[in-house]
């Protein structure tokens, strides 16, 4: 009698120790996730990166200064001049509200952090939260060990780091946490059938809708999974409780967010959830009727219902299809359509096609972004099938869909990362389980001087070697290779193995988990001792490679704030701070109401740092407006001056990398300006700017190219730098070297010539010559734009 209670006491002590260890490991994982993202702060400074985060930063500043009611009703007139932008209705408020509330909380606790600091460090904090959410999710699928491994993998995966370094204050920083947490609550509800978790699930889904446009992934993946469960015969009442309240509450909560509004019930992105909602109710009703009727009566009911039901369903379906087909895009938004049909954007919406993040990824980017996980994922998928549960089928569906979407757009590698971490965590955990179990099994054998229960253990050990010899003792680390041949042999030798195990159990003192399993419950795999030890060592080395790669990627590849550039030359580190120099100049040397025109990439930064009104910015919601600026950049000086003057522009900003070799400058982006401009104003034709299909700016460039505003503003006085005008990015000397600007004057060029600011010259007071034609350009363009015979609407 003493033995069982002792065993129980020992068991509970081990459980308690395991629990404490688990909590400690989770804390360490959180710290790791936070600190690996601090490289940019250490290497550069605590500054906000890139372009989009500047807009979010500006919105957060407004929120903290003016409060939430003004934030909801904010109409921003300092961007998209003269249209303005309704910020309250077009921004996903989750990120800004989160950072704003953190700032408010800290300030009320008398910790006076500035808004910028809070914004910079929001992403690392939420990545720690995301790692913990991954732990919870994987624990629901496979258990604590898999959970801890998956959390550790997610803390470091480079794909997630790239969008959540300290300073990358963008929607994904918070949205990935919300995504994983919503999935966790869904799986938890599915596993427990508790309505409490269903409520929490809906609230977490609300947080996700607030944070990111990618919430449509959730509202399509979960119905897909419900449909999968129904089709594979895994319908249960827990499925109903998990899904039905989520649809109703989720739709309502999604409609609450102003950005989504009525789209939550009217766009095709949400129709899948409603369709599956109806299907689920039908299935639930059928199961209920089946439960209360006798089988004969049920058959009668089925025949009756099926005939009527099919008629009704087809009628409803016909109406629905007619409604949806009547809209040109079948109810889908442009961005979603470009996900389903990858060629859609390049044909119809050049702006979406031009964003570099929307291009399909290359093969090396998979290894860069998820590294070792790329070949652990298949092992994880196999492990999920043994045994298949609702939760593991969900994770399999998640990884399948996210792999497809990551193949369409490189930006969506971010959605693949948590799925890959979960799968790899499961795979690694199962592999470690198998190996440590083998070692644990066979270690006492090593330490026993002579076989104590000679006859029995001999028989047992004889069975083991026969099974072991049939295994291929490979020294590779792929768990699948190990498990597949052994599974075949395992099935053959199952009986012998279990008899051997039973006998072994009697002979040993420490009963591991094998003894807890009844005879026919689990076929446990035992591998040879040396192979297991070497395999564990190799898995640890694999993990070490992963860690080294992640730290390198975080430090070198993804920590650049892209507003400050550095280069290493023979005389040390060179820092290019030209962007901030230009914005500071604008801030100090122009009037508050002056309008600045530039390509849309720099809009957010200009409004946030220079505090000047811009014409177009990164939100790119109005294609015609962007096409107007693109046309102006592609036109000769006079028409461009006309266009800019009609928009009240005072200053034009171009980015030029020819002197220092910065390759993301406006000349390299110029063809996109031509394409987008030409998409709306047909007098801009792309072949006019190409010589024999090639884009060049040297002496063989076309005259249209050499006369366009972008060329002139980029290369004005460039020949004065080295006498020859050698463009370091394009690698040639420029075509037109000595020219004067007639309608613009240069007001500022930064230290490395990276940003150049020009001012529009005011029109001459006295007009000579053709005075009758030259009236005020503002009224001319407005009057003549409709009845103009010429194709160019700006003359």
């Amino acid at each position: 009698m003493a033995d069982p209670s002792e065993a129980k006491g020992e068991g509970s002590l081990r459980k308690a120790f395991g629990g404490v260890l688990g909590v400690f490991i989770l804390l360490l994982i959180g710290t790791l996730a936070f600190s690996i993202r601090l490289f940019s702060v250490i290497k550069y400074e605590s500054v906000i990166h890139e372009f989009d985060p500047y807009f979010n930063y500006r919105v957060t500043q407004f929120l903290t200064k003016n409060g939430i009611y003004d934030f909801w009703n904010w109409f921003d007139d300092r961007t998209w001049y003269p249209l303005g932008r309704v910020i309250g209705g077009t921004v996903y408020p989750g990120l800004t509200l989160t950072a704003g509330s953190i700032w408010w909380l800290l300030n009320n606790l008398n910790i006076p952090l500035s808004v910028e600091t809070v914004c910079v460090f929001t992403a690392p904090i939420f990545s720690a939260n995301a790692a913990w959410a991954t732990y919870l999710l994987t624990k629901e699928v496979k258990g604590t060990g898999a959970g801890l491994t998956a959390a550790a993998l997610l803390a470091m995966v480079p794909s997630y780091i790239s969008r959540s370094v300290a300073g990358s204050y963008d929607n994904e920083a918070v949205a990935i946490f919300a995504l994983i947490f919503t999935f966790y609550l869904y799986i938890k509800t599915l596993n427990t059938g508790s309505l409490f978790y269903a409520t929490l699930n809906a609230l977490s889904y609300f947080y996700m809708v607030c944070s990111w446009g990618g919430y449509t992934f959730i509202i399509n993946l979960i119905p897909m999974h419900v449909l999968l469960c129904i089709v594979t015969g895994r319908y249960s009442s827990r499925l109903y409780i998990a899904y039905a309240p989520l649809v109703v509450l989720g739709t309502l909560l999604a409609s609450l967010v102003p950005v989504v509004g009525f789209n939550a019930v009217m766009t095709s992105e949400h129709f899948a959830s409603f369709l599956v909602f109806i299907i689920l109710h039908v299935v639930a009703f059928v199961y209920y009727i089946k439960g209360i009727l006798s089988p004969k009566m049920f058959k009668v009911a089925m025949t009756l219902v099926v005939t009527i039901g099919i008629a009704v369903c087809s009628a409803v379906l016909a109406i629905l299809i007619a409604l949806v087909a009547s809209s040109p895009t079948k109810g889908w938004s442009g961005r979603s359509l470009s996900l389903l049909d990858p060629t859609y954007a390049s044909k119809y919406i050049p702006i979406i096609a031009s964003v570099s993040e929307h291009q399909p990824p290359t093969w090396p980017s998979y290894f860069m972004d998820i590294n070792v996980l790329a070949f652990l994922v298949p092992a994880g998928i196999v492990a999920c099938f043994l045994p298949l549960s609702d939760a593991s089928s969900f994770v399999i569906l998640y990884i399948a869909t996210s792999v497809y979407f990551s193949g369409v757009m490189v930006r969506l590698m971010l959605v693949l990362a948590p799925a890959a971490c979960i799968m790899s965590g499961i795979a690694l955990s199962e592999a470690f389980d198998a190996f440590t179990r083998s070692i644990k099994f066979q270690l006492p054998k090593l330490f026993e001087a002579s076989p104590s229960d000679a006859g029995d253990t001999n028989r047992g050990t004889q069975d083991e070697p026969t099974k072991v010899d049939n295994n291929t003792p490979t020294e590779k680390t792929e768990a699948t290779v190990k498990e597949r041949p052994s599974e075949k042999h395992r099935k053959k030798e199952k009986k012998k193995l279990e008899k051997g195990k039973e006998i072994k159990e009697k002979g040993k003192e420490n009963a591991d988990k094998v003894s807890n399993k009844p005879l026919n419950a689990k076929k446990l795999l035992v591998l040879p001792l040396e192979a297991s030890a070497v395999a564990i060592l190799l898995l640890i080395i694999l993990g070490a490679f992963y860690v080294v790669h992640c730290v390198w990627a975080a430090a070198e590849a993804y920590s650049a704030p892209s507003i400050v550039l550095t280069s290493h030359s023979h005389d040390g580190l060179h820092v290019f701070d030209d962007f901030r120099e230009a914005y500071a100049w604008l801030k100090h040397n122009t009037d508050v109401d002056d309008k600045v025109a530039s390509w849309w990439d720099y809009g957010y930064q200009t409004t946030a740092m220079a505090n000047r009104t811009v014409i177009v910015d990164n939100n790119t919601w109005n294609n015609t407006h962007i096409a107007t600026v693109g046309t102006a950049m592609s036109s000769p000086e006079k028409p461009a001056w006309d266009i800019f003057n009609s928009l009240d522009v005072k200053y034009v900003l171009v980015v030029f990398g020819g002197l220092v070799g910065y390759s993301s400058d406006d000349i390299n982006k110029f063809l996109w300006m031509v394409r987008i401009g030409g998409g709306v104003f047909p007098h801009i034709r792309e072949p006019d700017y190409l010589r024999d299909g090639q884009y060049r700016i040297d002496a063989h460039a076309t005259p249209t190219m050499l006369n366009c505003l972008m060329y002139k503003l980029s290369y004005y006085r460039f020949v004065e730098t080295d006498g020859k005008g050698f463009d370091r990015v394009r690698g040639t000397e420029i075509g037109k070297k000595h020219f004067r600007l007639t309608h613009f004057e240069e007001v500022f060029t930064t230290h490395h010539w990276m940003v150049r600011i020009y001012k529009l010259k005011s029109p001459k007071n006295r007009i000579r010559g053709k005075s009758k034609k030259k009236t005020n350009p503002k009224t001319t363009s407005k009057i003549n734009s409709n009845k103009n015979v010429k194709k160019n609407p700006w003359q």
Partner: protein, 115 residues
């Protein structure tokens, strides 16, 4: 054929009725509540068909509150039903408390969205 199908239909209806009569009273009350909620939703849709859907958010919140309470009542019924093996260790008080909480959140959102 018609006679056999009609007699089949009658036999079906009779067996359905007798089987349903065997359900306990508390479940019948929940079913009645569900029927009431759905009827209210149907009435609202008919009203919208007559009057037009101008304050669309009001229409949406009305419909979804009816559908929502119906769904939550069905969930409660599932959890409280003694024949359901999966929920035998869930006390009906806990089920009702969850039901009330979920309804609270639902109606909070409805009141916000009603406009």
């Amino acid at each position: 054929m018609a006679k056999s199908s009609s007699s089949d239909a009658q036999a079906l209806i009779r067996s359905l009725r007798s089987a349903y009569a065997a359900t306990p009273t508390n479940l019948k009350i929940i079913d009645l509540y569900v029927v009431y909620a759905i009827t209210t939703a149907v009435i609202q849709i008919v009203y919208m068909g007559i009057v037009g859907s101008f304050p669309f958010n009001s229409f949406l919140s009305g419909i979804l509150s009816c559908v929502g309470t119906a769904v939550l009542a069905v969930c409660l019924r599932i959890q409280v039903n003694k024949e359901n093996k999966e929920f035998k260790d869930l006390s009906p008080e806990r089920a009702f408390a969850d039901f009330v909480l979920c309804n609270l959140v639902l109606h909070l959102v409805i009141m916000n969205f009603l406009g």
